[in-house]
């Protein structure tokens, strides 16, 4: 696992995507970051299909950062698809969203989200959150063993 694998960021808002990338950069997260702009694209990336057919055989991202409010398939739908598939069942998924609604939190955790981070308006606070995320999920946490490709 010497080579840093990529992180999949699922985010439809270009500004939020740019800010998240900036936060990762400033937190010294060196992994490449792949961007999916809706739920279907995220699943295509993970399961190497559609526009991402060429990824077949490539390893899964080290973690998925998932927005909840997405076009086509929303974040909770993506999470459910990830947990329903044997290949991605153990993939770390962090929900990153504006929503503070209790219902979203409960559904997120009950569908198997590993973490739930709220996007604060203050970028410095966001930076702190991303730093903690990076440290926990990319450095401290030992990922589950890679499974054989499909």
């Amino acid at each position: 696992m010497s080579e840093a694998k990529c992180i999949l960021l699922v985010e439809d808002n270009a500004d939020d995507a740019a800010l998240t990338l900036r936060a990762f950069k400033r937190s010294h997260v060196m992994n490449t970051i792949a961007l999916a702009r809706d739920g279907i694209e995220a699943l295509d990336f993970l399961f190497s299909r559609g526009a991402h057919e060429h990824r077949a055989g490539e390893p899964l991202p080290t973690m998925v950062i998932l927005d909840l409010k997405l076009p086509k398939l929303d974040g909770l739908g993506v999470l459910k698809a990830i947990r329903d598939d044997a290949r991605t069942r153990l993939l770390p998924v962090v929900i990153l969203t504006s929503s503070k609604e209790e219902q979203d939190l409960i559904s997120g955790y009950s569908l198997g989200a590993n973490s739930y981070v709220r996007k604060p308006v203050d970028f410095n606070e966001f930076l702190e959150a991303v730093k903690v995320l990076g440290i926990y999920w990319l450095m401290m946490n030992q990922n589950p063993p890679e499974r054989a490709g499909p």
């Binding site: 500004d15 939020d16 800010l19 504006s98």
Partner: protein, 483 residues
């Protein structure tokens, strides 16, 4: 027929029956009285006859003038009694006639006896003839008197019989009257059961059914009396209840739909309104970080202002959502230890600003019956307020306790901070109302509006006492505090 009409008919019938029976008893009693009078008269007759007999004996023995005179008076009295007797009926009139004839005959014989010359001074033969004549007259007289007495007793017996007959009639009339009344009472009971008690029982059953929630229950009573009308009114009432109930159900559905819309709206606000703010703050910071060396102080200040404004709007959105959530969430009452909640909030405020020294005086054992999460929000706002407005006080003291105000328990949060002029106190609990400038004390002006909503949802009230420069005390009382 109406029940009141039936009642009147029954009452009239009963009254008439009673009047009839009373009349008959009165009449029969009159008969008894009349018969008694007759018997008394016949008894007088018998007594007179007995007296006459005694007088006759006395005269026969002594031949005095006094018994003669007495005989005349008694005879005349008897004549009058017989003449005045109101006795009717063939047998009686015949008996009376016989009595009268015998009486007159007896009187005549008495006069004959009285007219008999004395034996004194007569020859033995003449005396013998006189005595024989006297004996003949006397014996006839006595026989006549004996027969008259028998006639009188016959009349007395007859009167007694009449009395008995009249008394029997009284008994019969009483028995007949009582039977008739019993019959009327029985009929009345049957009618009351059929027309009053059974319909009332059905009405009772119907009220029970409706009370237990069956609004479709109908009586369908078509009788034209008062209960029938009540039953029809009852059916009309359940009908209008059903209509109202359906309207309420519809309104409730509309309200639920509306509530869902508000939920969706709040979700959008929470999610979408914050995104542009993040961009504003984030890219302003990016500019400051990446091009800080190329910007002068004014440009940096402007960017800081953009950031501050974005963050403030973020807080506003959060607090408005909080305010709306306070109104929307379901109230779950239970025992809440306010002392404990206050201590936790005080501790976390202390952690956030460790440089500040505030003396907390929290009364022990303050328990209320309320929604715990809402009371936490309310206390959080009140304590944050007190914390904020004692920020410029040298020896800040915040007291939380309970006190009896106007006979009810009220909780209070008192501080010795900047306070305010009570003139503006009523504006304090409106959303976005502030009594201080933003640059003096930061805040959105939603905190106290949230507190007021929470207290109102608990059917309580919140009020404040304050003096400029001397601090403020916020009070709140809840309905149904658990002692």
């Amino acid at each position: 027929m109406k029940i009141s009409t039936k009642g009147r008919v029954a009452a009239t019938t009963a009254f008439l029956t009673i009047a009839l029976v009373a009349g008959m008893i009165w009449w029969a009693n009159d008969e008894v009285g009349d018969a008694n009078e007759r018997r008394r008269e016949t008894t007088d007759l018998a007594r007179g006859l007995t007296e006459l007999r005694l007088v006759t004996f006395e005269y026969m023995l002594h031949r005095h003038e006094r018994p003669r005179e007495q005989e005349r008076r008694v005879h005349e009295r008897l004549e009058r009694l017989i003449a005045d007797s109101p006795l009717a009926g063939d047998a009686q009139i015949e008996a009376l006639g016989t009595l009268r004839r015998r009486n007159q005959e007896a009187h005549r014989l008495f006069l004959e006896l009285a007219a008999t010359p004395s034996v004194e001074g007569t020859s033995a033969k003449q005396a013998e003839a006189i005595r024989r004549f006297e004996a003949q007259v006397s014996s006839r007289l006595l026989i006549l008197q004996q027969e008259s007495l028998a006639d009188a007793f016959f009349l007395t017996d007859f009167s007694t019989e009449r009395i008995n007959a009249a008394q029997q009639r009284v008994v019969l009339v009483i028995i007949a009257g009582l039977s008739l009344n019993a019959l009327i009472a029985g009929a009345a009971t049957w009618f009351i059961r059929r027309d009053v008690l059974s319909p009332i029982a059905r009405l009772q059953q119907a009220t029970r059914e409706v009370a237990s929630g069956d609004l479709d229950y109908q009586l369908h009573n078509d009788s034209d009396d008062e209960i029938g009308e009540t039953a029809r009114n009852f059916d009309a009432m359940t009908h209008s209840l059903r209509t109202s109930f359906r309207q309420i159900e519809r309104s409730n559905q509309e309200l639920a739909a509306l509530n869902q819309e508000i939920e969706a709206f709040s979700y959008s606000v929470s999610h979408d309104l914050r995104a542009p703010l993040r961009s504003m703050d984030g890219f302003s910071l990016a500019l400051l970080e990446d091009y800080g060396d190329k910007l002068d102080a004014e440009a940096k200040d402007s960017l800081q202002r953009v950031r501050a404004a974005s963050q403030r709007m973020g807080r506003l959105i959060d607090e408005l959502l909080g305010l709306s959530r306070v109104t929307r969430t379901e109230l779950k009452r239970g025992p809440v230890n306010l002392s404990e909640v206050a201590r936790e909030i005080a501790e976390s405020l202390g952690h956030q600003s460790p440089q500040r020294h505030v003396e907390w005086r929290i009364e022990e054992g303050m328990t209320v019956h309320a929604d715990k999460s809402l009371m936490q929000i309310a206390l959080q706002n009140l304590l944050e307020n007190a914390w904020k407005f004692t920020g410029k006080t040298e020896q800040a003291v915040i007291r939380i306790g309970m006190r009896v105000v106007d006979g009810a328990k009220a909780c209070f949060v008192a501080d010795n901070g900047v306070g305010f002029d009570m003139t503006y106190a009523d504006r304090l609990f409106g959303a976005f109302q502030r009594l201080h400038h933003e640059n003096e004390f930061s805040g959105t002006g939603i905190g106290l509006a949230t507190v007021q909503r929470i207290i109102r949802r608990h059917e309580g009230k919140v009020w404040v006492e304050a003096l400029p420069g001397q601090g403020a005390t916020f009070f709140f009382s809840l309905k149904e505090p658990v002692p």
